[in-house]
């Protein structure tokens, strides 16, 4: 597995760049992963990333996109619970890109 070094800390990623050890994650690593994905992180991005981390710690899976939009809408308001909003933040697929930056595994059933 490839190793990556960020600010003196090295961590392992898989062939697609997903973090192997969830516990390695910190904001510096998130910033690195975001850069790899060419995403500039704003407070709106962090809101989704933090939501995903909470979801994972509760259910031990990364949610499918349909489940993510529904849950985000419930928690952050209906204007944010839409595919459009999430795709604006994460153009290459919110479940996939946001999960990667949040240090989660690739979502089950990610299509």
């Amino acid at each position: 597995m490839p190793m990556v070094e960020v600010a003196g800390k090295s961590f392992e990623v898989d062939e697609e760049g997903y973090l192997i050890n969830l516990a390695d994650w910190d904001e510096g690593i998130a910033a690195y992963l975001a850069k790899e994905e060419k995403v500039e992180l704003t407070p709106n991005h962090w809101e989704v990333i933090n939501f995903l981390r909470e979801y994972y710690s509760e259910y031990q899976i990364a949610p499918a996109i349909r489940v993510l939009t529904k849950a985000i809408g419930k928690k952050l308001g209906p204007d944010k619970g839409s595919n459009k909003y999430l795709y604006e933040l994460f153009p290459y697929g919110p479940a996939k890109q946001a999960c990667k930056i949040a240090g989660l595994p690739k979502p089950t059933g990610c299509i």
Partner: protein, 130 residues
């Protein structure tokens, strides 16, 4: 295609039941079965799950897998509701011989006896067993 099936957004909705018969750890069946169920949710079918024999242990509260060195995936059953998979049937006899009651489960379930479970299975279009 049968005329009795509901038509929804141009697609046919079938009744899928995923039957879980194995204890959560020791084999990969329970985890694989759960993943297939989560993936199946994307296809907007009428999905239910049945828990029979040692499969009833999959839903047990308070699982601790530290000694096994495996991930505890039992919290994921609580995510099923968010995937609109709310029909979880547990066989009464399987619970009874293992000394389990509904209070032992991490999620809300419908308890069916042997005959009711058989009837529920007979209603399905597709049965997939793990």
């Amino acid at each position: 295609m049968s005329d009795e099936m509901d038509m929804q957004e141009g697609g046919v909705v079938k009744q899928f039941m995923f039957v879980n018969r194995k204890a959560p750890y020791g084999t990969i069946y329970a985890l694989e079965g759960l993943e297939v169920v989560l993936i199946s949710a994307a296809f907007e079918q009428d999905v239910s799950m049945a828990f029979i024999d040692d499969g009833v242990y999959e839903l047990k509260k308070g699982q601790d897998t530290k000694a096994l060195g495996q991930k505890n995936f039992s919290p994921t059953y609580r995510a099923l509701e968010g995937y609109d998979i709310e029909k979880l049937y547990v066989e009464k006899e399987s619970m009874a011989v293992r000394g389990l009651t509904v209070e032992d489960f991490a999620v809300d379930v419908t308890v069916l006896d042997h005959a009711e479970m058989a009837a529920k299975m007979a209603e399905q279009d597709v049965l997939i067993s793990f």
